[in-house]
Amino acid sequence: MSRLGVFVCHCGENIGATVDVTEVAERCKHMPGVAHAEDYKYLCSNPGQNKIKQAIEEHQLDGVVVAACSPRMHEPTFRRAVTDAGLNAYMCEVANLREHCSWVHEKADSTTEKAIDLVRLQVEKVKRNKPLDTIQVPITRSALVIGGGIAGIQAALDIADSGHKVIMVERSPALGGHMAQLSETFPTLDCSQCILTPRMVDVSRHPNITLLTYSEVEHVEGFIGNFKVAIRKRARMVDEDLCTGCGECLQKCPTKNVADSFNEGLSMRRAIYVPFAQAVPNIPVIDTENCRKFQGKKCDRCAKACPTKAIKFDQKDQIINVEVGAIVVATGYQVMGTERFPEYGYGTYPDVITGLQFERYASASGPTQGVIKRPSDGKEPETVVFLACSGSRDAAKGVKYCSKICCMYTAKHAMLLKHKNHHAKAYVFYMDIRSAGKNYDEFVRRAIEEDGVKYIRGRVSRIYEEDGKLIVKGADTLLGGEPVEIKADMVVLASAALPNHGQGELAQKLHVGTDPYGFVAEAHPKLRPVETTSAGIFLAGACQSPRDIPETVGQASAAAAKVTALLSRSHLAREPLVAEVNRKPAPQFSDCTGCLLCETACPYQAIGHEEIKDRNGNVLKTVAKINPGLCQGCGTCVSLCRTKAIDLHGYSNEQIFAEIMSL
C-alpha cells in the first residue's frame, strides 16, 4: 500500500477564501493510501517546502500530492523540493485548486467538494506513478551550416572558434551569397567585398571548418544531437587539389554567351568560370549544360591550357555522409524578378531592372566596373527612377509583408548614382520610408538633403516605352494626388525579398515548418527567434524573413551560441515523459503486432521498428520502437494503438483510467 502525503495550500486567501482548506486536508486523511495530510498558508514558500521535505522523511512517504495553484506554475518547484528529500521527482503531482476551483467558483460546499475530488484525482494518479529519470541522449559534437552567405559564414566561424567541428555546405561554386554581389553597404557605404572577403578567407583557412561548395544537402535523418546528413558534392570537373587558381583555362573557353547569374544576367560568362574575382575557393567550375564537351562536341581547350592538368571531365557527383549534432539553416533569400510585374512591362523592357542588378552596375567588380549604365544601349542614364515597395506590401503579388531592406538600399542606390554622375536626376517613388536602424534615417535624410534625390510619395501605376525612353506614370499624393509623368532612362525596382529557390524542398528534408510565404518558421516569434520547432535545428538570416546584414550577423552569432550551448555537453538531458512500447518475456516479446500504423502518425518521426531475433539470427517478430531522444510525449500513438502496446510515462493508461474512476 503506498504511503502518500497530501499538502493543501491556502495560497494566502486565494484558495482559503472559497475552499474550506482544513476540511479538504481532513477528508484526505481517510483516502486509502494517504499516510499524512496537512494544510499550510504558503506551500511554495521555503518554510512550506521544508514542511513537505520533513513530512517525507518523518512518514517515509513514497508519493506526494500538493493541492495548490496550477501545475503550470509550481510543478517544477515542488518536484525539485521532493527530489531534495530523496524522492523521485515524478512521484509528486499537483492538484489545481486555485485557477480551476477557488478562483472560478463561489464559496460553497460544492466548491469544497470539487476541491476534494480534484485532490482524490491526483492521489489515484500518484499511486500509479513510476519513478522516472531524465533521458540522457549522446550528442555528436559537430555542426552543419547550410548556406555560405554572411549568415552561414558568421555562424560557422563562431561555432568553429568555440572549438567544435563545422561542415559548411554552399550550393553555388563559392562563398559570399548575395552580400558578395553588393557594391557598398548602408549606412556607412563601406564596400561589401572589403568587409566580406577576409571573413570568407577565415572560413577557408579555419582548421575546424570543412567547406563543401557546389554541394547541396541531399537527405537528413536523425534527431537533436544525432543527425545523419547525406551531402551531394556536385562534380566541378576540376580537381580541387591540383588547381592553383591561375585562371588560364578561363581565357581559352570558346563558349562566351552564358548569362552570368552572379552579375544577375547583365553580362556573359564562359562555360568554365569562377563566380567573381575574390571567390573563395578560387577554383573554377565547368557548367555542363553549356560546355560543348558535354553537348557531344569535340573541345578540350581548357584541359590543354591547364598547367597542372587539373581538368577532369570524368569527375562524378559524390555523396558525402556526415554526422552532426546541430544544424544551422542560413540559406538566404532571392529577389522577385521583373517578369512578375505586368504593370511595368512583364520584364520585356530591358531598362527596367531589379535592385540587385543595379548593385552589380554600381560594384567595381561588376560588368561595367562601377559605371552606372543601362542594359539596352549601354549609355549612362541621365534620369533614373527608383520604385520602392515593388511587389512587397502587395496582396495581389502574394507578398503582404514589408521586405524591410529596400528603403535603405534604394536610398543608397540613389546616393551612389548621384556620386558617380553628379548631374544625373534620381527620383524615388515610395509609400513610407522605413529606416529604423542605427544611423539609418540620417542616411536617408543625407540622400535627400545633400545628394538631391527627389522623393515622391506615390505609387507608379504604369511604365511604358516611347522613343527609347521609359514613361513612368505615377502620382504625387503629397501634392493632392497630382498625376506625375517622368521620362526616365532607367527604372530600378526595389523588388520584394522572397524565400530562396529550393527553400521548400530543404525545409521538407529537415522536417522544419515554413510560414505561408515559404520562409523557415521560427519556434517562437519573440522568445525563440533563432530556433525551429525541430529540436537541434537553428536558423539565421534572411531565410527566416527579409533582414539586413547587421541583424543577420547578430542572428548568426545567436544561432551559433545556441549550437555551442547544445554541443558543450556530451549528453543531453530530456524530460522522461516519453512513450514506450511494452516488452514481455518470450514467446510474445511484446503486445505490439508490428502493424506499424503508429509510425506514420508520429509528428516527430520518433517511431521506427526493430526485429526481435533468436540466438541464431532469424527474425521472430517485428515490433515498433520509439526513440526516446525524438519522442516529445504527445501521446498520439498511445491512443492510436489497438493493442495498447504503447504507453506514455506520466500520462499512462492506468493513471488516466484511475483518474476517471476516482471521480
Partner: protein, 267 residues
C-alpha cells in the same frame, strides 16, 4: 472447378507453394476451408457461388505461416484483405499468391501486391445488396429507434469473440479486450460490456475493414455486427476518401490527417 484443381496441382507439383488454401464441400452442402498440401488432395477443392467465406483470416496465423509459401483461393474480400494485411506489415510481399477464378472460368494467379491492386480496382464493392438495404433502413430510423434496435441486438451477445477470431483484420496477438491493467472493457457479457466491446471493435476496424461480412456470418446468436464495422469503414471512406484494402501501401485514415478536414460539430 477442374481448372482450379489443375492449377493447384501444378503449383504443388513444381513446389512453388507448399499449401493451397481453398474451399471444400462441408456437411449439408456447406462450404468450409480446406488446406491442400499434396497433389492427391487437390480433388477436394471446389468453387461455386457459395464460397463466400474470407480465407485471408488464416494467412496471419503462425501455424499457417510455418507451412512456407501459400496459395489462397480468393474472392473480392480476400483480395482486399490481402492488400490491407500487406499494408499493415502482416504479410511479406509475395509470401502469398492469390488464385482468382474469373467469370469466364479461367484461373488468374496474382503473385504480387501490384497485380492484386490492379485486379481489386476492377471489382465492385463487396457489401451485399441486403446489407446495403439494412444499413439504409437503420439510418432512416430516429436515434431512439436505433438505440432500441442495437440495445435489443447486443443484449444477446455472449462475448464468445467468434467475430474477432473470424475477422482477417483482427490478427492482434493481445487485444484491448485482453488488457486488464486497466480493464478497458468489462469482461462480463452484460449490456454495458457488450456495447463497449462492439464500439471498440468497430472503431478499431474503421478505415481497415474490407467488408467481407465474415463476422456477421460467424456470430452464433446472429447479431448483424458486420453492419457496425461496415458503417465505420464507410464513414471513413465518406469523410476521408481512403478506402481500406485498395493498396498495399495505404496510409491508415486514422493515422494520417489533412489540415483541411471538414467537420461541423467542433465548437
Amino acid at each position: 472447378m477442374d481448372v482450379l484443381r489443375n492449377k493447384a496441382r501444378d503449383l504443388l507439383a513444381q513446389g512453388q507453394v507448399q499449401v493451397v488454401i481453398g474451399y471444400e464441400a462441408g456437411t449439408g452442402g456447406a462450404r468450409r476451408p480446406s488446406f491442400v498440401r499434396s497433389e492427391a488432395d487437390v480433388a477436394r477443392l471446389v468453387w461455386d457461388a457459395d464460397c463466400v467465406g474470407n480465407l485471408a483470416g488464416y494467412l496471419t496465423r503462425a501455424e499457417i505461416k510455418k507451412m512456407g509459401k501459400i496459395a489462397v483461393v480468393a474472392n473480392a474480400a480476400t483480395l482486399r484483405a490481402l492488400l490491407q494485411l500487406t499494408a499493415e506489415h502482416q504479410l511479406a510481399e509475395g509470401a502469398v499468391s492469390a488464385l482468382v477464378v474469373t467469370e469466364e472460368g479461367a484461373v488468374l494467379e496474382l503473385s504480387n501486391a501490384q497485380a492484386v491492386t490492379e485486379h481489386v480496382a476492377t471489382l465492385p464493392a463487396s457489401l451485399s445488396a441486403a446489407d446495403r438495404e439494412k444499413l439504409d433502413q437503420l439510418m432512416a430510423l430516429s436515434r431512439e429507434e436505433r438505440r432500441a434496435f442495437w440495445e435489443q441486438e447486443l443484449q444477446r451477445c455472449i462475448k464468445c469473440y467468434a467475430c474477432r477470431s473470424s475477422c482477417p483484420m483482427c490478427y492482434c496477438g493481445s487485444c484491448t479486450m485482453d488488457c486488464n491493467r486497466p480493464q478497458w472493457v468489462p469482461v462480463a457479457s452484460h449490456e454495458m460490456g457488450n456495447l463497449e466491446y462492439h464500439t471498440v471493435r468497430a472503431m478499431h476496424l474503421a478505415g481497415r475493414c474490407v467488408e467481407c461480412g465474415e463476422c456477421g456470418r460467424a456470430c452464433p446468436v446472429g447479431i448483424p455486427i458486420h453492419l457496425l464495422t461496415c458503417y465505420a469503414e464507410e464513414s471513413v471512406r465518406r469523410q476521408f476518401g481512403q478506402p481500406a484494402g485498395t493498396s498495399a501501401t495505404l496510409n491508415y485514415a486514422l493515422g494520417t490527417f489533412r489540415p483541411d478536414d471538414q467537420e461541423t460539430f467542433i465548437r
